[in-house]
Symmetry: C2
Subunit: 389 residues, 2 copies
């Protein structure tokens, strides 16, 4: 297929924090309105809406949110409005649907959004809800939760490659340092290695500060056919590669617990489509739901050899001024992780980086990568975006 | 955009009935395997999976089902697997995603499925779960449920057009008569007008037999680029028109309660794309979640003038041997309504009609229409399918 170029012409985001008083519809409408206003597009010209959301049904009793948001926004009722779900990669999937359908010539203008409301429920209920992303006949049956899954990944990574507990803690410290300047972040205080190492155990070897916080939030983007982007903006950001792939849905199907193959597969698609390589990427927002995930993802995305992700953090390679700046936003660990919103929250941060107006700016960032994962590595999207010439 | 033709080359369905012992994954895997085997396609060649599901999160605590089903089927892990949700039109949306992406040249072979598990929960819990398709800030806040919404539609239709209670009952009698021969149907006993009229009130004027039953089930189809369909089957069924549109998400936004504008909009898209008119359609499966919905839908789809839908049933026009055969399967009323599966269950029935091997066959059916609706007319898909040559 001959694909058309696709550009991001407007972005919007609520903070990722605790917003008990706001509904799913309200937060999503807010982020979408920001994106529409920034794009300067007449909302009646938008031709489709895709919304990512994961556990709105279980926690808020709310499904069918896409048309609700569309009506709240005042979009044209002739257009299709669809919710997509793939656990914590739901917003990445929404982005990809919009991208694919513009690239293929079906639409010129698509609004994509992601949203989640998590903090009104008890921690126990949220943990139960999140386990909806596991297979009830295998992992969930054993009582395994996502902290348990990633704790096993950490243990294996430590055993195989000599990764240290301190490496995990350094990831947390760096993400918390990065989020200090990010007004969208849930946590804006720096932490120390000692604080992280002394935080209470969640699932050995993961401690509280190794885990992302339960959060509320929404993010959105207006996508446009690249050849029409200049009608709306002087600074279009082009999507130059997109991938979505599947991984094992239970622990015993993972051949090697130190790698999440859905990431490798999705990244391969995005790199191939863009003709770019890991060393071409200037800034990365990756799915660090736990500190070990940042280490594993940075290897699976090709930035470091397998086993070297933790050492790369220690060497400062992933700092904002490092060779491969990872999660200058603070990532899921410190910015927050409203699960169905995260993929587009990551895109928001990278677009701001490529425009050169991020609060924690990577110098001369021209090409960015967004990595969004769901389940125990069960589903993954990767997008590569580029500032236009 | 120059669109390619898209064909259905294989279909599968479980019964739509009570299957308490079967999981969402199990039912969907079953329907998908039937479709794959019937298509004679190597499952590793399938390039994407879309799964429609509505309340699996709320009732079964199960999200992220698309990759779970893909792994259960043994699909290629390099492919994207995505759940889509739009209340009771979730499966219609899955069908449309596959259609669009093949039509646009992104994929050649896509598997689409719909599934729902409803009978393990209490009636109260199912009613609460279904209300997730309503706006919690308007209709749901008032305590309105879907039987309540459609009861108001019925009252208004009766007042405006002289539709009789007996017309509603005739819809039920006809659907129950149709499902007697359908081995996939939940109810296979004929009913009488007296039985329907004397069944217990649910929400006046709707009685028990005016309402579709809570059911379990799954349905699936393998879609293929039309120019490759003959590699797999001698009887491809082409999708010649597709529409998806949005309607009001609360009662007070309906200007006229006797019509559901999302149906009119989606049908307009499908008729325009296909170049066909209502009078070209030989067989229809439409979304009769309540008897009044069949009457309203048959008008909104253009088969009868507004207000004449009930009289058309009385005159036999919608019978299997009538001018516009509607729901020869028994429809949602008598075949059953596992909400997230229904749209592809309807497609299954129409494909069997166009192949000429349905248990309740419409003579010489060449062109069929499938109408799938979600919420209180909030979201709708319409597909027109045609037997080749």
């Amino acid at each position: 297929m001959a694909r058309r170029g696709v550009s991001i012409i407007g972005i919007g985001s609520t903070p990722f924090t605790v917003m008990k008083e706001r509904s799913i519809k309200d937060m999503a409408t807010d982020a979408c309105n920001q994106a529409i206003l920034e794009a300067g597009v007449d909302r009646k010209m938008i031709q489709a809406l895709y919304v990512g959301n994961y556990i709105g049904g279980i926690l808020e009793g709310q499904e069918t949110i896409a048309p609700l948001i569309a009506n709240s926004l005042g979009l044209n009722p002739d257009i299709p409005c669809t919710k997509v779900e793939g656990a914590c990669s739901s917003a990445g999937i929404a982005l990809r649907q919009g991208y694919l359908l513009i690239a293929a010539g079906v639409y010129d203008l698509v609004l994509v959004a992601g949203v989640e409301k998590m903090t009104s429920a008890s921690t126990e209920k949220v943990t139960m809800a999140l386990s909806a992303g596991m297979d009830p006949e295998t992992d969930r049956l054993t009582g395994l939760t996502f902290p348990g899954f990633f704790a096993q990944v950490a243990r294996r990574h430590i055993k195989e490659y000599g990764t240290k507990i301190e490496h995990l803690a350094m990831v947390s410290v760096q993400n918390h340092a990065n989020s200090v300047s990010n007004p969208r972040a849930r946590f804006r205080e720096p932490t120390t290695l000692e604080q992280v190492l002394n935080s209470r155990p969640i699932c050995d070897p993961l401690k509280l500060f190794d885990c992302c916080p339960i959060s509320d939030g929404a993010a959105a983007a207006v996508l446009c056919a690249a050849d029409r982007a200049h009608e709306f903006t002087k600074t279009p950001i082009d999507i130059v590669g997109s991938g979505q792939a599947t991984g094992p849905s239970c622990l015993y199907d993972h051949e090697d617990l130190t790698t999440l193959p859905a990431t490798i597969r999705a990244a391969h698609q995005a790199y191939t489509e863009s003709g770019l390589k890991p060393q071409d990427i200037d800034v990365v927002e990756l799915h660090n739901c736990f500190t070990i995930a940042e280490i594993v993802d940075s290897e699976d995305l090709g930035f470091f050899p397998k086993g070297r992700g933790g050492f790369a953090v220690e060497e400062g390679l992933t700092a904002v001024d490092g060779k491969v700046p990872i999660n200058p936003s603070g990532g899921l660990i410190a910015k927050g992780h409203p699960v169905g919103a995260t993929g587009l929250g990551q895109l928001y941060e990278v677009v701001r980086q490529l425009r050169g107006d991020h609060e924690n700016q990577v110098q001369n960032a021209e090409i960015g990568l967004v990595h969004n994962m769901g389940g125990s590595g069960t589903i993954c999207t990767v997008h590569i975006v580029k500032r236009r010439g």
